[in-house]
Symmetry: C2
Subunit: 282 residues, 2 copies
């Protein structure tokens, strides 16, 4: 159980780590922050989101719960270098948006006396850095726990409790492969589309004639270029399969349009409209 | 000049025709409505959006301004059948979302004593029918006038006045080919993407894990299947070229992901983020 006495450390105070710190502070918990950027630590302290912090990995050593909010491969490296500092019996969790590679590598090397619970808070914004930290976004967001056979009920309950404290809308469980496949479709594929759309054309006139549909489709083209290549590459099998599936569908639609096949186009639109209804308004 | 004494008739009281009627009524004008559906006419009358109406094309005969809010090819057919009813010296305008084919066919056959000003109000919603009429959407929308050499200053000013009365955000002018090319990209391509995305997968689990990006990208998949095949087909040269350009971009991204080419992926993300900024937030 997470109590006021629980020592919680967040490693990496970027957009998501900063939002976690803010949310935990709002809920009355004491957080330690580790970040290599002194101005990030200074900002977090000034906001009172962390009670102590600095660049030293040693700050982690008495922590009951360690939350890595590092980029996927940085997280793996950090564990490789610093896992000897973790407290026996502590819980380690993360926020990375892809799971198979990260979980495989962390679980392969992690000390048996530390329990790693893989989590993916499905939150984020089109910005980076602690200045954009915003824990209110969690209230509409899914929190996915990706358990393994190594996890204990105590570990899983800690992850669920963390999600409740941070006020996530919904907590659910997926296995790593299922998680990565779904994320490859609902999130990563959408980012590939938005990026591709923005990269097709440099006609400045387009801005003047853009309606909501184009603006909606390209919102996520405003992207963190340090994080996303890694997310794509760590999930490349599923993601490229989804890209290929979309290309096949678009090719089919193009051929139907060229053939002026109204009945088939109608069928396809009716099916899409039907399915889209399940996803709610917006 | 459009005055209270100007006789205005709207042909086709669907979502857009109904929204025009409502907007003109709100601004104090008297509108006649023509629609083949008696319940649509009854609804428009009950709301006072039209002062008279019915299915008979003859209702158009004393009108100074005739606004067709019919589907593109229905509009062309309607003019073919009923143009003898138009009043000499009257102004004819429309709302169709593609211009070259419609304008070519209407201008080829129209009586010389009637002036046709092609317009495209860039408004619409993911619903059809007068029950969803909503003139407030015009306040954020572009109104595009597509003039030809045949148009007079009096005719063009009538179109601009109509846009002002309906409170469109911005009135601009494009030639027919430029219009169709831009629409093919900023609107039609987005609809092809949304439809293709919805048609790829029928995994009901997806709804549970969908974030804003997927919801934003597929909003327009909720589509009027009677109208859109026609819009796509009337613009098939430009639209299929845009679909091909997007497929080429997505193929390139897929290959970069497969090759784990981080520097190129970064470059492409920075460019997309830069460009996206011009389009404003949302």
């Amino acid at each position: 159980m997470i109590s006021r006495a629980t020592k919680i450390t967040i490693v990496g105070l970027g957009l998501l780590g900063g939002s976690y710190a803010k949310g935990l502070y709002n809920a009355g918990y004491n957080v330690t922050g580790i970040d290599i950027d002194p101005s990030t630590i200074a900002f977090a302290k000034k906001m009172h989101w962390i009670v102590e912090g600095g660049p030293e990995p040693e700050l982690v050593k008495d922590s009951d719960i360690v939350i890595s909010a590092l980029y996927p491969r940085t997280f793996v490296e950090w564990i490789g270098t610093n896992q000897h500092l973790l407290k026996p019996g502590s819980i380690l969790t993360d926020v990375t948006g892809i799971k198979r590679e990260v979980m495989g590598r962390v679980n392969d090397m992690l000390r048996p006396d530390v329990e790693y619970i893989a989590c993916h808070p499905m939150a984020g914004r089109e910005y980076k850095g602690i200045a954009y930290a915003d824990c209110s976004q969690f209230e509409q967001a899914n929190f996915i726990i990706v358990p393994t056979k190594k996890n204990t009920e105590r570990g899983l309950e800690t992850a669920r409790e963390l999600a409740r404290i941070l006020k996530f809308h919904r907590v659910s469980t997926l296995d790593a492969a299922e998680h990565d496949r779904i994320i490859g479709f609902v999130s990563q594929l959408c980012h590939v589309i938005a990026l591709s759309l923005m990269n097709i054309s440099d006609n400045p006139k387009l801005c003047d004639y853009t309606g909501d549909s184009f603006r909606d489709l390209t919102r996520v083209a405003n992207i963190n270029e340090d994080l996303w290549p890694e997310l794509f590459i760590c999930n490349k099998d599923y993601l490229t399969a989804e890209v290929d599936a979309l290309i096949a569908q678009m090719t089919r639609m193009r051929d139907l349009i060229n053939a002026e096949d109204v009945p088939e186009l109608k069928k396809l639109m009716i099916l899409a409209t039907e399915r889209r209804k399940r996803f709610g308004k917006r």
